[in-house]
Symmetry: C2
Subunit: 359 residues, 2 copies
DNA sequence: TTGTAGGCGTTATCAC
DNA sequence: GTGATAACGCCTACAA
């Protein structure tokens, strides 16, 4: 026998880790068999009303909670999703995560998180659990995709994997829920143009990331539509962090000439840019207009409040979790989705007349 | 027999969900028994070197991954911690969570998260898993503690539950890792005093939360030390959100008279306060000094950069996870801990001379 | 409508 | 040093 019945020699007060009741215990209490308990609690229709009530009462009184591991082992599904996130310090992702968690919960799933920028090996290891029943599906939120997952997808396996937030290349085979990055970026630039700006620069993210390329393409699209020049000096290589924005600002100041407006690849770099510009006495939007992309909480209290694109994080979270659920459970399958974005116009992109009201 | 051997009638190409190899498979491949595989992979010393190598090679080639649920069921422990978090949109918590996740991973644990402000019932339900082996311990980050957990702790049960970030009342029986909130708050106010400010107000958080009371107490302590008046009009009832800060600012403006400085209960409310003050033409720190508490990412790029207390989130995360691990595994037990805080001095708390350098 | 039995994948005890 | 075996708690095909 692999285990002593129940270490009776330490009955002290109340065992620190008292065994919690199992279905067998409830069965005994209710005077039925364990299978009847299982069926009752599962709400199967074949159970008589009287039995169901007796079982439920017994379970209630004993404080019965189902054992997740036993259930998962038996059913070969865990009702847990793995969410791969690059950086929780980025509010874009933490807010998305919160909404994913909520949406997953409402659909009967829990989540585990894997940080991809902290340790690239780790999400790979976590992703392996997809093959051992540890997790039922994977939600990607960055461009990163674990090697073993990607290779299987490329081999045609239809794994329950969905990407949201970060754009997915067409034809990659990964299901996706995203916004139209190019159009969203173009919308920002069109707004700057409508405000009277002509020389509109773009502080771009790292070109190794698809999202940076797409936002740059949107900027180009809007310029082309308006017949404005793109001039190589207007494409400012930057990045997505505060420091990147600061660095670009310093470079502009040093060069001695400013464009009319700058469309930044995201809000965070816009904060860095504006902070450094202001430090040098440049007034926003009077001397130069600035716009970002993301709509973080602080974009509205920055001085000046930042014009930006609101990422529909909640909508993307809900749609992507639902999509993933469908892939897992195999019911009526959804399709890849484009979620509408929204341009948020604030003071930073103002027309730049020196005597504007600050109502 | 509860299950058909392996649905042989759909051998199509490659089963969408091919069964992943188990220990029995590896045993067959290596020509040993399943127990030997288990012992080999666990690194038990009684296995011969030759056998261990054969097993490891077989596992490698077959791409064997252990099944988390089977293991947890057998061992009665999951190596998963539940982290209860009130709000991931608050960078304080998302940053803490990131560090908790990292620390947990390095100690061999995974985490699940439960939002407590979204749905108060949910964390309670998740916490129940502590009693069915679903999770091994709970990390509390807010004042909230699930009812069933609290009642057991009050009854003297020594559950693996640790609170960090949010202060714990003395004698509550909950293990804790925290900063000295009162001293940290007093440090901020002492700094304001040292900068020459006399009438120092406090924008307080909700008094239903212990943390608000403690920071207010620190404010009082510093004032008392310096023999400064506390004046009832200097205690400004507010809250921890942007809107609370804005509301207080509007009240101050309407009242027509400003204190020399305001110590805000946290950074976010300070942002709201400053934004609204600036909108009314008040200059910071020239007309009024402001300080906060938390040190968020944007506190350094706010205009002006905000003087605040850096919460040692990483240190708290690491210490609390380690503490929890010790409680779970029962080894040499740690003690409740006070983690050192750090005052971050930036421009917002300047002495207020109208012609200060902005070097 | 309910009970019996077998097994999900792992680990620990016992015997060799 | 290794193998057979039972058991963790649950679900379900089959029998009654």
């Amino acid at each position: 026998m692999p285990r002593k019945p129940q270490d009776e020699n330490t009955p002290s007060k109340e065992s620190v880790r008292a065994r919690s009741p199992t279905m067998a215990d409830i069965a005994r209490l209710a005077g039925v068999s364990a299978s009847t308990v299982s069926r009752s609690l599962a709400g199967l229709p074949e159970i008589s009303e009287e039995t169901r009530i007796r079982v439920e009462r017994a379970a209630q009184e004993a404080g019965y909670k189902i054992n997740r591991h036993a259930r998962s082992l038996r059913l070969q599904r865990s009702a847990i999703l793995l969410v791969l996130i690059p950086d929780l310090a980025n509010q874009n992702y933490s807010d998305l995560l919160m909404n994913i968690d909520r949406a997953a919960f409402e659909l009967g799933y829990g989540i585990m998180i894997g940080h991809t920028n902290v340790d690239l090996e780790r999400p790979d290891r976590l992703a392996d659990e997809l093959f051992t029943g540890g997790i039922d599906g994977i939600l990607l939120t960055s461009g990163y995709c674990p090697a073993r997952i990607r290779s299987r997808i490329e081999n045609g396996s239809r794994l329950p994997v969905v990407r949201t937030m970060s754009p997915t290349e067409a034809g990659s085979g990964i299901a996706s829920v995203q916004i139209d990055e190019v159009e969203a970026a173009a919308d920002v630039v069109r707004h700057l143009i409508a405000n009277g700006h002509r020389r509109i620069a773009h502080l771009a993210g790292p070109m190794t990331e698809l999202v940076s390329q797409l936002r740059r393409d949107g900027w180009r699209r809007a310029l082309a539509e308006a017949g404005l020049p793109e001039g190589q000096d207007l494409l400012l290589p930057g990045g997505f962090h505060l420091e990147d924005g600061k660095a670009v600002a310093r470079r502009l100041i040093a060069a001695g000439t400013l464009p009319d407006a700058i469309f930044c690849g995201n809000d965070e770099s816009a904060f860095g840019l504006m902070t450094e510009l202001k430090r040098s006495g440049v007034r926003i939007p009077n001397d130069i207009a600035v716009a970002g992309f993301d709509d973080l909480t602080f974009s509205q209290v920055f001085d000046p409040p930042l014009t930006t694109v609101r990422l529909p994080r909640r909508e993307m979270a809900e749609a992507s979790v639902l999509y993933l659920k469908q892939m897992i459970e195999g019911g009526a399958s959804l399709e890849d989705q484009i979620v509408p974005h929204e341009l948020i116009i604030r003071e930073s992109s103002g027309p730049g007349s020196p005597h504007r009201d600050r109502s």
